[in-house]
């Protein structure tokens, strides 16, 4: 940490330039313009540009975008492919059984988009309204005032070498202070996690649960391509005990987004979400689509699956949480884009009103009230039991979901409870080792050649941003009891156990491959790994993810 940090003052600082953060920024500026008031708003984004770290489906519900920017069509928003053909399929090893599409998964009026490109476009809209957007700057630390409230954030120092010493290019971080700081870090925000602890925000909420989504973009043969077509699958290659499935969306230009989500409440430590995905692509119903095509992009990102009962307290003195870092994702719909935007807009409205008060740095409780009064709350409430019901296996989950959806319409008088994901993992003895097939280099690949397509930029000479609380745990606990699950769940191959043959095992961390998906921060059995922000601008450079 450095003494000589420069201070920059704003009215509102927003951490994260995803859909939620950008929507909040735009709404704030709109309100200020309507009221004829000056308002300094800035957005910090750790990616090298807005969109560089955004990975999503994405089948997008445009309702909230229309609320925010009614003339988005005229302004050229990148929503060009309406969804047309919805398919829900149960896979067994050989067969593909078409099922009725559950109503939450029906997608009429929606668009297949690149959320990264939508963020880029929203970034331009925000910039035009006078929002200060700072891509390439990560918020590394929350700043507190004497009374214990949040007074802003500090960006990380740049140019600190591996050895912790300043390099010739050293540049201290900045303190960005504000009356209100909006945290919009997306799933498993690294500063949000500190706020959870500091303000005990999760006290009355169930633990958040997560999934990891691994995604590839393929260019396929034109004859097989049907813009707007959606396919969702469940079942093979995951056993009935593991929650997960795939989504396959036909975008424009003969490209398809193909992704695989695995619930991080999985129990078998031998499971590898990456390998399950690769294996999935070899299914007789999927492989022919990819044959003759080429893979263009690769990436991974976690998503919140806890839903309604996992939503934390949203406000604290000087700040609030919006978007997926608060857990506003509708799991049965597998959509969090429209809810992220809505929460951002509601936050902006509450914050703007609050800023007119004398004590503008206090808690914006009106935001939580607005959320409770909105369609967002109702939507998440009705979906609340579907994901947890899959804890008892896929068949129970499917049966219950149907019952819950068609019979109770989400109004069942009970709410299922959940455990944190890292506690769900079981010791290696209780589970069979999984032998995954070798990649063929055509349809299936290894992790290194995949990460190559994520366009990662990571200054090698910097302190490792994956921190271990206990240096001995990777071998003494993770390896001994769980066969080092981090070597399998990390979709980028960051973690490796070396020296096992010589009887001297140790954990090697290839931090420069990190995709910022946050899976390790979530799933490490003893929560020993802490994901912190590396130097701003580090990480993937996703294209139209």
């Amino acid at each position: 940490m450095s003494a000589e940090r420069e201070i920059m003052e704003f009215d509102v600082v927003i951490v994260g330039g995803g859909l939620s953060g950008l929507s909040a920024a735009i709404r704030l500026k709109q309100l200020a313009a309507e009221a004829g008031k000056e308002l300094e708003v800035c957005v910090l984004e750790k990616g090298s540009e807005v969109g560089a770290h955004i990975l999503s489906g994405a089948c997008f519900e445009p309702t909230t975008l229309t609320e925010l920017i009614p003339d988005w069509k005229e302004k050229g928003a990148p929503l060009t492919v309406p969804t047309i053909d919805d398919n829900f399929i149960l896979l067994t090893e050989r067969r593909a059984i078409k099922m009725p599409t559950p109503p939450q998964m029906e997608n009429e009026g929606n668009y297949i988009i690149s959320m990264a490109n939508l963020c880029r476009w929203l970034g331009e809209q925000a910039d035009a309204l006078g929002v200060q957007i700072f891509p390439g700057f990560a918020a590394a630390e929350v700043l507190y005032d004497e009374a214990g409230g949040v007074r802003g954030v500090a960006t990380g120092d740049m140019g600190i070498g591996k050895d912790g010493q300043q390099t010739a290019n050293y540049q201290p971080g900045y303190e960005l202070t504000a009356k209100q700081t909006i945290f919009a870090e997306g799933c498993r925000g690294s500063l949000t996690r500190d706020l959870f602890e500091r303000f005990d925000l999760r006290k009355d909420a169930q633990p958040q649960t997560y999934g990891v989504g691994i995604k590839e973009i393929w260019e396929i043969e034109p004859a097989k391509h049907k813009p707007g077509k959606l396919v969702h699958t469940i079942g093979w290659p995951l056993g009935a005990a593991t929650y997960g499935g795939s989504a396959l969306y036909h975008m424009e230009n003969n490209q398809i987004a193909i992704m695989f989500v695995v619930g991080l409440d999985y129990k078998n430590p031998w499971l590898s979400p990456f390998e399950e995905f690769q294996r999935f692509k070899t299914h007789p119903a999927i492989r022919p689509l990819l044959e003759g095509g080429r893979r263009l992009a690769y990436g991974a990102r976690s998503l919140s699956e806890g839903g309604f009962q996992s939503i934390p307290k949203l406000t604290f003195p000087g700040g609030l949480l919006i978007g997926d870092t608060a857990g506003f994702l509708n799991v049965p719909k597998i959509k969090g884009g429209h809810t992220a935007m809505k929460s951002g807009m509601l936050a902006a409205e509450a914050v703007f009103e609050h800023l007119q008060k004398e004590d503008a740095g206090t808690e914006v409780t009106a935001y939580s009230d607005n959320i409770r009064k909105s369609w967002l709350w109702k939507e998440l409430y009705e979906a609340r039991n579907i994901r947890p019901s899959f804890r008892w296996g896929m068949w129970f989950g499917l049966g219950y979901s149907a019952l819950d959806t068609y019979l109770f319409r989400g109004r069942a008088p009970w709410t299922f409870s959940i455990l944190p994901d890292h506690e769900e993992i079981e010791e290696k003895e209780f589970h069979p080792k999984i032998d995954y097939p070798k990649p063929d280099g055509v349809i299936t690949f290894d992790r290194l050649s995949s990460v190559f397509l994520s366009n990662i930029n990571h200054e090698e000479n910097q302190i490792c941003h994956l921190r271990l609380r206990d240096e001995s745990a990777p071998v003494n606990i993770n390896l001994k009891k769980y066969a080092a699950p981090e070597t399998r769940y990390c979709p980028a191959g960051v973690y490796e156990i070396l020296g096992e043959e010589e009887g001297n095992p140790r954990l090697q961390i290839n931090a420069q491959n990190c995709l910022h998906c946050k899976t390790c921060d979530i799933k490490d059995p003893t929560q020993n790994i802490r994901w912190t922000t590396p130097e701003g601008g580090s990480g993937p450079n996703y294209p139209n993810m």
Partner: protein, 250 residues
Amino acid sequence: MKVLVPVKRVVDSNTKVRAKADETGVDLANVKMSMNPFDEIAVEEAVRLKEKGVATEVVVVSCGASSSQETLRTALAVGADRAILVDCGDADLQPLAVAKLLKAVSDKENPQIIIAGKQAIDDDANQVGQMLAALQGWPQVTFASRVDVADGKVKVTREIDGGLETLEASLPAVITADLRLNEPRYAKLPDVMKAKKRPLDTTTPAELGVNVTPRLKTLKVSEPPKRQGGGKVADVADLVNKLKNEAKVI
């Protein structure tokens, strides 16, 4: 003394580029673009000359689509004073056209030094600096790894096979920047904000009286053949057999 630095918006160096399926060019859709890394070095050198009190003003210029404004703002954020965009729409700009545009800009600006990158990492042509010097009738010193300016002259060190070469040229001159000339700084946050307010003028090839019609035609852009995976041979006999009958080299 004024320094002019031409900067080009190119595919980001972290991006894995690919040829378009129809082989008409590199697929630039959805690809991240950044300032040509050698131009970052050129800007840094110009800013250092200003900080040393040698230069008084650093002007950056880019020829390209309006999106090149972003590249110019990046240069402004690390210390350039002023920017000029030569808005060429999505015209296919070739090195000679760029050199002519830069000459036209230079004629108006009258810089004493032009520092360009040694090459742009997209086309790797390594031509603009040299063509520009020829059009101007100025001395040129390419691949600079050290630049010292004094008494109306510039001393430039170049890394050559087996050692260093130091050249001296009289000003005005064109210099092109090599990789080890310096290590560009990180932009400072307040400067990113200030960069938005610095002047950025736009002109066009027509205003500059330059015809940018391409003179070269690209026939085909294709990817290198995929490397065939290796195989293990059982013994010498197998190796000889494979060389004879599969590879057909003996």
